[in-house]
Amino acid sequence: MLELVQRPVVDDVFDEFFADPTTPRANYARLAVTLAAVETDTLVNGVRAINAALLRRGVTFTVYAESSGTERIFPFDPIPRIFSHREWRRMAAGVEQRVRALNAFLHDVYHDGRILREGRIPRELVHSSDLFVREMIGVRVPNDVYIHVSGIDLIHDDQGTPRVLEDNVRTPSGISYVLENRDVLKRTFPRLFDGYRIEPVDDYPLRLLRTLQEAAPHGAREPNVVVLTPGVYNSAYYEHAVLARSMGVPLAEGRDLLVVDNRVFLKTTAGLERVDVIYRRIDDDFIDPLYFRPDSALGIVGFMNAYRAGNVGLANAIGTGIADDKALYRFVPAMIRFYLGEEPLLENVETLDCSDPVTRRHVLAHLEQLVVKRTNGSGGYGMLIGPASTAAEREDFARRIEATPRTFIAQPVIQLSSHPTLVDGQLSPRRIDLRPFALYGKRVDVPPAALTRVALRKGSLVVNSSQGGGSKDTWVLAAEDDDA
């Protein structure tokens, strides 16, 4: 039988499951009863079967640093994370607000630059970013929407208060795991669902398709949508394929597309076929060798001309990276107040800007207590976790910060909340975060389909798949089932 008594990692960590060492929170009460009756072997064998099935199904990602083409599964943890409907609604409203503000910011910096003129954000900070794309200045995009798909990473701090850890408004991935996790959990551990009514996740592809259709240039009827992937060697290729397949649209690579007369076409067995909307999962830099990296073999020659001429919709728009540049993150609350006239519903994490000389000195003196991130980084690559770092790593980062201070920020170490997780045949608390996805066609939609990532290594604070993370199914209770 599973030992259900809480084992806290550190005293000041918020646990999602337990209110105190022996009492589960209201959401989890029913699950605790079910788990108490489950044989440990059943869970362990079930997980083994799931991981084998994931490999057979090719639900894998590629780790870039390792020898080429290492296919790995994203380990699955069977203990679900549960949100009450009320809690979820509050968070979703915060995410929705944030995405609207970030989108307004993008429209502003690529047009009038009001927020810069009025001095709310230093102009220098925006224009020095390599994520600011000059080619987008003055370009109108359909419905003025830039951020069609975003993933806003949230954590619960030591008080259980949700905070935004970072915004991902370029090509966030992870939704395929949300779909897959629900499916495998239902098939393998149906009993866990006893007594719960939870929001389904499997309409996400349809909601995404509607969003993409709304991104079509004006006048396109029954717009033709394609998913653009960098190809089979991309870390998230599986996800690209799942989304294309479940939306029923072609999964294209750059070489399958052709621009003629500033219009984009697919090369099909029946000749050229017009494309209206591209859901691209390829970075700005690679999308058109005529404008960006000339050595890109992944992109579409002449795409930017078609895009700027308004002949094709693109999700997300080019140049959205400036909105998730980590040096601008600390200004997001100001953006919310400036553009929406609202108070932020979600809190930020305190962030130190290394380009400021005084702050930089403070950061360099306290590297051991801080987390340092690259301003244009993502995926958990190239960050320093102070308390877990070696002196050599800190020296290395100090050198890099001195060399290019604009490209680094520092944050205090946040005590992410913990959640019971099956490790070596027993439940142990492990740190988790949450990535809800927001869709923005004509208005922002936050489907109840969020990814919970878990740091499987004891004491680790890094949940990224590339850094030893795993994932959990994430439940949002139906409205009337709150506190089930």
């Binding site: 057979r56 199904r57 089979v232 067995t269 005529l290 001309n305």
Partner: protein, 325 residues
């Protein structure tokens, strides 16, 4: 459908068909060599014949076929050799690479069967297979390849992608049936030799039933080449190729609108209007060579029509054009 996807469907099913046939050829050779149906001199010959089928398309730079065609040598080259594109392991890896490119097009059943077969074959080695006797492993490969073909037929819509799979499957099957026939030295080979060829084509029982009074080598060859209802005969394959091409081009029956259809039509005629007497008169090998040449041209033509290699010319783009538009 995307040209690239069409091409991947074609090669996916071609390689699955190849792995299946190579597995069967090796299994038949192995099991028949165990009781020496026709004596020692024939054993070397039959392994050499298996090698000829299992090393098709090996690059000239690859290691040459082993001089000593022993069971162990041939199995190693034809089952595990990564540098031999016709080895079972390589064929399945190629099929899987194509399947990965088709992840958004395939049913999960087809994909999972291919992926699992690949993962299982990767795990095997010459020694692990030899330990239990190669038959067991070769049969698993054969069964699983047939399962992939069956699941494809049962789960994929019978439209473009499936039609390209049909082309790949039947082109490869016709080609391998012809090559199996080509390993016969002549119609004077002893009957057990011809039984071996029939078995490699899955034709032992169908032939016995169709030809109770005619058990001569020319009749066996004619059965594999011309029988219209046996699904592994060249005739049957040619007609399936013709039908798939017509479904793709949507041209009416007996209308031949592109190069691929014309070549397929010609091949159909060649294997419809010939019989055992013709191959006796013309010689087996010239006839089989003609069939193989026709299949090669046909594949080239399918490629030109549906997935051309020649890049499509693009007019030079002026960066300011877009702003005017």
């Amino acid at each position: 459908m995307l040209s690239r996807h069409a091409e991947s469907f074609f090669w996916l099913s071609r390689n699955v068909e190849r792995a299946e046939t190579v597995a069967r050829v090796l299994d038949v050779t192995y099991t028949r060599s165990m009781d020496l149906h026709t004596g020692g001199t024939w054993e070397q010959r039959s392994w050499r014949a298996a090698l000829a089928i299992g090393m098709l398309g090996a690059a000239p730079s690859a290691a040459p076929a082993p001089a000593d065609a022993t069971a162990a040598n041939v199995l190693e080259r034809c089952v595990f050799d990564k540098d031999n594109p016709s080895s079972i392991r390589a064929s399945i890896a190629i099929a899987r690479t194509n399947a990965i490119g088709l992840r958004a097009e395939l049913s999960s059943e087809v994909w999972e069967h291919i992926n699992q077969l690949h993962l299982d074959v990767q795990e095997q080695s010459g020694s692990s297979v030899a330990e239990r006797g190669p038959s067991r492993f070769l049969r698993v490969v054969r069964d699983r390849c047939q399962a992939i073909a069956g699941v494809s037929d049962a789960t994929l819509p019978h439209v473009d992608g499936w039609n390209f799979m049909q082309l790949g499957r039947f082109v490869e099957r016709a080609s391998l049936a012809s090559r199996i026939l080509a390993t016969a030295a002549s119609f004077d080979d002893p009957w057990p030799e011809w039984q071996r060829l029939l078995e490699m084509c899955c034709a032992s029982f169908p032939f016995a039933r169709a030809a109770t009074h005619l058990q001569s080598p020319p009749d066996a060859a004619a059965f594999i080449l011309f029988n219209p209802t046996f699904p592994r005969s060249v005739n049957f394959c040619a007609n399936r190729i013709d039908a798939a091409l017509h479904r793709l081009s949507q041209s009416p029956d007996r209308a031949y609108t592109d190069g691929a259809e014309k070549l397929a039509g010609r091949l159909c005629a060649a294997v419809t209007f010939a019989d055992a007497a013709d191959i006796v008169a013309d010689g087996l090998h010239p006839f089989v060579r003609a069939v193989l040449t026709a299949l090669d041209s046909l594949v080239g033509s399918i490629q030109n029509v549906y997935f051309p290699r020649v890049p499509i010319a693009v007019a030079p783009l002026n960066r300011t054009d877009a702003l005017a538009g």
